[in-house]
Symmetry: C2
Subunit: 200 residues, 2 copies
Amino acid sequence: MPRGRPEVVPDDGLTTRQRRDRPVFAVHTGDMKGKSTAAFGMALRAWNQGWSIGVFQFVKSAKWRVGEETALRALGALEEGGTVEWHKMGEGWSWTRKQGAESDHAASAREGWAEIKRRLAEQRHDFYVLDEFTYPLRWGWIDVADVVQSIRDRPGRQHVVVTGRNAPAELVEVADLVVEMTKIRHPMDSGQKGQRGIEW
Amino acid sequence: MPRGRPEVVPDDGLTTRQRRDRPVFAVHTGDMKGKSTAAFGMALRAWNQGWSIGVFQFVKSAKWRVGEETALRALGALEEGGTVEWHKMGEGWSWTRKQGAESDHAASAREGWAEIKRRLAEQRHDFYVLDEFTYPLRWGWIDVADVVQSIRDRPGRQHVVVTGRNAPAELVEVADLVVEMTKIRHPMDSGQKGQRGIEW
């Protein structure tokens, strides 16, 4: 974990402290697991800072990430540390009353992004996880240019992590930190299926 | 996250359930961040299963991973979920009384591994994080062959995650799951230093 001297000192007129305190936009992409898992690991640090954490999952299954959700919700409920809001597309976003939302995934995804955009404008959270968010972008459900602009020009000091395979190039372009999770070996290669506690 | 049909069904005489329930040995390596962060993200799932979690950090600084440590200790202290033990080499391993342990890092690292080996034999934990463990292996402080054999032949159903750069090939060889975190872009490239809540 680099805490030493940066390789390049930019000529941007900022002090080291100003530069250090810039909000981070991170993209976790690649074919291998660990993208979301690392984002939720980052959320542990955010929680320890007492930050407001907002998780937005662009997935269908309500069971997805149930381990991480249960753990982070438990942390968010404690007196100490930050707060945690966890919203899932699969069940219909919690801020809407629509139960039939699942019938139109594209509309649900757009609705999710519209809410995130509002929250970014309001500076509602300190740390956002947009989990599996690359898929609705890839599928053309959400306008990539709008996302790029809204994240790039977000006010204040809001950190944003986007996870998912095949992150669009325009998004990678404006990210401060991009990690690619690459597969070297996976248990499924030798016929092992996912298991409780490890995969979910 | 793959929960479907594996690509290959091996001729190993095991049922799918037996194969599924095999303990996993994972290695998170590569030059980029996210290796430890993803391991602690996995610990959230382990906690949600009610598992006994043992974290062993092979690092000098007592402040390293303080966010993750505080959060996981808070989870471990709850009535629900699993238990969390967190041991750090930097302060002298908590099970020893030696205060001068820091003066000989190689000896401390060997002492840490000896304790992990005892715990594996006793099946003390369900989920182990051996954080930054590749370094004492690389530096020749701990015998790689001993580690490979002890992890490969561990009894019962104990999951083990090793993190760190440059994982030795022998270790990668026996791992079920190997992820390489690859750098696409890092804030330090443009002169940004690490910051609170993001890096630690």
